[in-house]
């Protein structure tokens, strides 16, 4: 168990600065998710924590101790890679045991016990003798996770571990990881993803990154309810938050107004705004209605259950007043 503290961390590749001064604290036992669009520096940040990448300037502390120059293997971390990065020539057992065999002072029995325990946790015990190529994608990812568990790390790092899996497996493995976190509550986990659903579902706290800077850190609900910027507001939540600017926003005393689809009601008349239905999507449990009302992008309204609006219908809508997010010209919230 370890806390991680980043102080004004910067990282440059040549003349290109990728991380531009990040201050962040990851608490002990916390599940922290780095999220952001591609190129925001989230993977780089993770690699800086892992020690695979050198910090250009700033300080990185594990449990209050500076680890800037410490080798990855000495940081007490384990990492799960996007491509699993299993050793193709080793069996599942050897893959999981490799790290331990390199550390001195582990007896064969101990290694076997630890590997088997991890394998049991992930239900891959029957595959221990197989080679990675004899496994399915999901099984390989479990092995990769198992390899990390075997190392008994203080910090668990995930680099987009689900992006190579198909949708169904992704959900299943996500749950697996969530369960893992629960069962290993003394292990700090840092998880990188570009998928905000993963972020919302897994995280204790989310760190939204943008262009090498931290945009906002907070629990999923904090981010959902009190986004610190238009960027965060737009990134968190599905469907994406509707943004309305111009005259309609002026009415709210803001430069931009943001309102989530689930926070808009369709009213019989006298609504705040009116729009024309251009498209509807029925998902069963809920449904989306897309409205054209002169904004840059169509406004989405999320309704419970199915609906029977048709394209071309004119509807009146009203945002829930306490759910309206107002932003100034700089994209910052007006509170």
């Amino acid at each position: 168990m370890a806390s991680i503290e980043l102080r004004n961390i910067r990282k440059a590749f040549g003349a290109v600065e990728v991380i531009k001064g990040v201050d962040l604290e990851v608490r002990k036992g916390e599940f922290m998710v780095f999220v952001g669009p591609s190129g925001c520096g989230k993977s780089t940040l993770l690699r800086l924590i892992s020690g695979l990448e050198d910090i250009t300037s700033g300080e990185m502390l594990f449990d209050g101790k500076v680890v800037n120059a410490l080798a990855p293997s000495k940081r007490g971390i384990a990492m799960v890679f996007q491509s699993y990065a299993l050793y193709p020539h080793m069996t599942v057992y050897e893959n999981m045991a490799f790290g331990l065999t390199l550390e001195k002072g582990h007896s064969k029995d101990e290694i076997q016990k630890r590997v088997e325990k991890a394998a049991d946790m992930l239900q891959i015990r029957q595959y221990l003798d197989r080679l990675p190529k004899q496994l399915s994608g999901g099984q390989r990812q479990r092995v990769a996770i198992g390899r990390a568990i075997t190392r008994d790390p203080k910090v668990f790092l995930f680099d987009e571990p689900l992006s190579n899996l198909d949708a169904a497996l992704r959900v299943a493995t996500r749950i697996e990881i969530a369960k893992l976190h629960e069962s290993m509550d003394n292990v700090t986990m840092v998880y990188v993803t570009h998928d905000q659903v993963e972020a919302m579902t897994l995280a204790d706290r989310i760190c939204v990154l943008r262009d090498g800077l931290v945009e906002q850190v907070g629990t999923p609900m904090e981010l959902y309810e009190h986004p610190n910027s238009v960027f965060v507001a737009g990134f968190i939540g599905s469907p994406k938050m509707n943004f309305i600017s111009g005259e309609k926003a002026k009415a709210f005393n803001a430069d931009t107004v943001g309102i989530r689809g689930e926070h808009i009601n369709i009213v019989p008349g006298n609504g705040t705004w009116t729009g024309t239905v251009i498209h509807t999507e029925n998902l069963g449990a809920d449904s989306y209605v897309y409205l054209e009302m002169g904004t840059e992008e169509p406004v989405v309204v999320r309704l419970d259950g199915a609906n029977n609006y048709k394209s071309g219908d004119t509807v009146h809508i009203a945002p829930m007043p306490d759910k309206v997010h107002r932003f100034d010209a700089a994209g910052k919230p007006i509170r």
Binding site: R10, F13, G14, V16, G51, D54, T56, S57, A69, A71
Partner: protein
């Protein structure tokens, strides 16, 4: 995979923090390179510098250690006659040399071109699964495995106009209308040398490309197959780009070898001006004639020509030196 294509770091103004990992790697790299560089410096350094040095002297094998420095005389020197006519002498104006350069370039370009294509075909065939593949793979390697001095003689035997089997075969199959004296005439001598060289070194190319093919994950093809990509398109879109690094290196080394071609021609057509290459000419001057310094000058110029061509190739072929690292 986010960093592998980025340029190596330029020194940043902020004092760089050297991590243990980086230090360990750089230290390891140094120790790993040292023995190799040391070995090369010892084995190659001295002889190469010696050769270059001799090219600026009047060295002769009769008196190697009494060589005197004469500057660029072996490359170019001139005397102005009383009549005012300036006569140029030296390697740079030696028609025999430029003939050899031309022969070499022609030979290298043609042989490497065909070897690359044939090598690719053979590699693709060997990469396929079929019964008896291991035997075929061993059989393919035979031309490369036979010592050059032997295979060159073997071919000179087979190419013989009177009792050569190639002429006989050509006549029987109706490919030739009369027996051809392959190595005798200027027109066919080069063809003969090319045939033998391509036969001999295609396995080298094929094997290296095959190794490249083998390092390509097979599932990429499976995915492409499922997508219904036409095999030809598959080759140009997937296979070729993936084996490109291996192919490029194979070509570089074949090119270097072809530009230095010596033993094959030395045995097959040693004195034919149609096939005399730079190395053969250099040998003649180094050992047969009493012109050791002149031969050294040829070797040095040959070195420069190859160096320029290689750099050109690396530049045009965009052979990368970076990437894959961390």
């Amino acid at each position: 995979m986010t960093t592998d294509t980025l340029a190596p770091p330029v020194t940043v103004t902020v004092p760089k923090i050297k991590s243990e990992l980086m230090q360990q790697r750089v230290r390891a790299a140094r120790w790993f390179l040292l023995p190799m560089l040391l070995a090369l410096a010892v084995v190659a350094g001295w002889p190469l510098l010696r050769s270059i040095y001799f090219s600026f002297t009047d060295a002769s094998l009769t008196d190697l250690y009494g060589a005197e420095w004469i500057g660029f005389g072996n490359y170019l020197r001139w005397t102005t006659l009383e009549s005012g006519v300036t006569r140029y002498r030296g390697l740079l104006v030696d028609p025999a040399w430029w003939n050899a350069v031309w022969n070499t370039l022609r030979f290298a370009a043609t042989s490497v071109f065909f070897e690359a294509i044939l090598g690719m075909i053979v590699a693709l065939v060997l990469n396929a699964e079929f019964r008896g593949r291991s035997i075929v793979r061993a059989a393919i390697l035979i031309p490369w495995a036979i010592p050059t001095i032997v295979s060159a003689k073997m071919w000179s035997w087979m190419l013989n106009d009177q009792f050569g089997i190639l002429n006989d075969l050509g006549l029987r199959l109706g490919l030739l209308s009369q027996k051809v004296a392959w190595t005798a005439t200027a027109e066919t001598a080069m063809q003969a040398v090319l045939i033998v060289d391509i036969w001999k070194t295609t396995p080298f190319m094929a094997l290296l490309i095959l190794a490249g093919l083998q390092m390509v994950p097979r599932d990429i093809y499976e995915a492409a197959d499922l997508d219904g990509v036409h095999p030809v398109k598959q080759f140009f879109r997937i296979t070729l780009p993936l084996v490109r690094p291996a192919l490029m290196v194979a070509i570089i080394f074949r090119l270097l070898d072809a530009l230095r071609i010596f033993d094959l021609i030395y045995v097959l057509t040693p004195n034919s001006t149609a096939t005399k290459t730079m190395s053969v000419l250099a040998r003649e001057n180094l050992f047969d004639f009493d012109k050791f310094a002149y031969g050294s000058a040829m070797s040095t110029l040959l070195f420069l020509i190859i160096a320029v061509l290689t750099m050109l190739y690396i530049w045009l072929g965009k052979v990368r030196f970076d990437g894959g690292d961390r």
